[in-house]
Symmetry: C2
Subunit: 327 residues, 2 copies
DNA sequence: TTGCGTCACGTAATCGTTTACGTATCGAGG
DNA sequence: CCTCGATACGTAAACGATTACGTGACGCAA
């Protein structure tokens, strides 16, 4: 590893001067700039981030905390985080919450030891313990959750998005729309969505019908069962996650229903999963990658404290007009 | 941020002693150990990783390089990497290759500046430029690829796995088995799988039939078209990725074929995608999470240089016996 | 010519650890 | 009693960068 002193020596200047040209701090002539840059290139010098971070007391590291590393929704957001972070010369450190805040606290403690430039919390509410663990200096931003913590946030308007999703089904003539909700543990994102659904249903005098899964594929199967049991003549299902939506289209077809002729299914989030079923899942799309990008810009001090990004209803193959009533 | 000197002062010893008990280096009495530990607890002291890394010239950071952050297969592996890394007190830095080696080189350069303990390369072959970028000190390990670089590796035996996958279809009576292969760019993993398929087919005197996608869902549709065109009476399809397998079961059903009664579909990798279709996809499973775990153990100096982990054929709903020939 | 402001550097302290080396104390063996 | 070897520390020098401060040279106005 070549050090700043080695390149200084090669050029015949002091380390301070090299540091200045590297960081663009005024105090050197054009000629020495050239020679320093050339020496850097020849020696393949790269500033030691540890030493730099020690001196400046902050590194160019960004922490990312997600419920699970392999979570599809989080992955998309992380993708945006990674590219925007890199665009700003920052690197990304990964951690997961798992169940309970214990892992998160532990992760934040080790993260703090690296003096990160900021931390992105994906689908994760912050606890006082977590705040203590990471220290009060480090800026945090929460993504895909708006309420429940006083952090700056990047998210869609879940209530409105669910309202409009429901509305789009209603406009196609559906009245018997079952809701496949997420579980209580992710209440911060689910509660507003449920409210949006109910508000839309009530607006047209339709009766809300809800069952709860845990957002994952398997959990949707029994919830669907219960839904059909409560109303065998459902014409549409609004699932609050794409995985549950995928389960709905598969399960419907297994029961001999055609999608969307006999049953429309609307998903939520627009993860890649929505394209893995047939017909492809219509969904209420969150701009996941842009959300990740926005989050790092916010951390790096740009943009308003609370960003609400636009959602979008994407009609793919799984939704259509109300089936003709048999007569 | 409390420093080591502050805890030293509080106990009435020198910083050196505190450092010794923190790192378990002999040279302190049991009594001072107790008191130091207590002071650390009271002050919430956490050693500064940057300073420590500067002094020892290596951090407890592990780099991970994947083709894409949101890649499903890579995500599973990363999940294993993260948990095992954490179990060893290491943190994980994320980077992506994208297309071309340029991003990878850039990432490895910034990674080197943090003096990482090692780097995990997922589905990525190393180039001389990449090696230079990261420096010769940093140990590397490649996951999910065995050939093509002289790195220590963790992977399954792709040739054998594909052979056995094909064999399992053959044993069910299938003879007209189409192969949905991946693209040339990932030749290091695809070539052996194709060889395994061909070897099995030839072993029973069946005729190989192959078309090429790019491992993603969408790419499988036209490839399937070509497959059916070349042999309309295929009774099974072996897809070299779960996404293509999922496309095959959906596309088959769209054409009015029942899965598995009329057509069996076998996938590859055992990513979550395999459970997102109906019937759920039978697949040749790689132990992705354990592969990630093994990789970090290998980096940290444990285990043999080249690990071949066991694959497994998982029969879910998408495969079955040959359809009766109509007569 | 003198004086002063600017430019272009160099010097040296500093960030928070680790660690080689020095040292005081103490018990035991001769 | 003296010596020797552990044991249990303390001292101070690194690690590789950044940066406040000092300084010599130069230009220019008075």
């Amino acid at each position: 590893m070549t050090t700043i002193r080695e390149v200084a020596q090669r050029v015949g200047v002091s380390a301070a001067t090299v540091s200045r040209v590297v960081n663009g701090v005024p105090g050197f002539s054009e000629l020495t700039r050239q020679r320093v840059l050339q020496a850097i290139d020849e020696l393949g010098y790269e500033p030691d981030s540890l030493a730099r971070g020690l001196k400046t007391s902050h590194s160019a590291l960004l922490g990312v905390l997600a419920p699970a590393v392999s979570d599809a929704l989080a992955s998309q957001i992380m993708s945006g985080v990674e590219s925007e972070a890199r665009a700003h010369g920052h690197a990304v450190m990964l951690g997961r919450t798992g169940s309970g805040a214990e892992l998160a606290v532990e992760y934040l403690r080790t993260l703090r030891a690296y003096r990160p430039a900021g931390v992105v919390l994906i689908s994760t509410a912050i606890t006082p313990e977590m705040r203590r663990a990471v220290g009060s200096r480090v800026p945090l931003v929460s993504v895909a959750i708006r309420k429940g913590n006083e952090l700056p946030s990047v998210a869609i308007d879940d209530e409105l998005a669910a309202y409009e999703g429901t509305m789009s089904l209603l406009r196609s003539g559906h009245r018997r729309i079952g809701l496949l909700a997420g579980d209580e543990s992710s209440v911060l994102v689910n509660a507003p969505r449920e409210r949006g659904y109910r508000r839309a249903m009530r607006a047209v005098g339709a009766k809300p019908l809800e069952e709860r899964g845990n957002s994952l594929y398997e959990s949707a199967i029994p919830a669907l069962q219960r839904l059909w049991q409560r109303d065998p003549e459902l014409t549409a299902i609004f699932a609050l996650s794409d995985e549950m939506g995928a389960a709905a289209v598969n399960e419907a077809q297994r029961r001999g229903l055609r999608v969307p002729e006999d049953l429309s299914v609307l998903g939520f989030d627009d993860t890649p999963t929505s394209r893995h079923v047939h017909p492809p899942l219509s969904t209420v799309a969150q701009p996941l990658v842009p959300m990740g990008e926005s989050a790092v810009r916010l951390l790096l001090g740009q943009g308003p404290r609370n960003q609400v990004l636009p959602h979008r209803i994407i009609a793919r193959g799984s939704t259509g007009p109300t089936p003709m009533p048999p007569h």
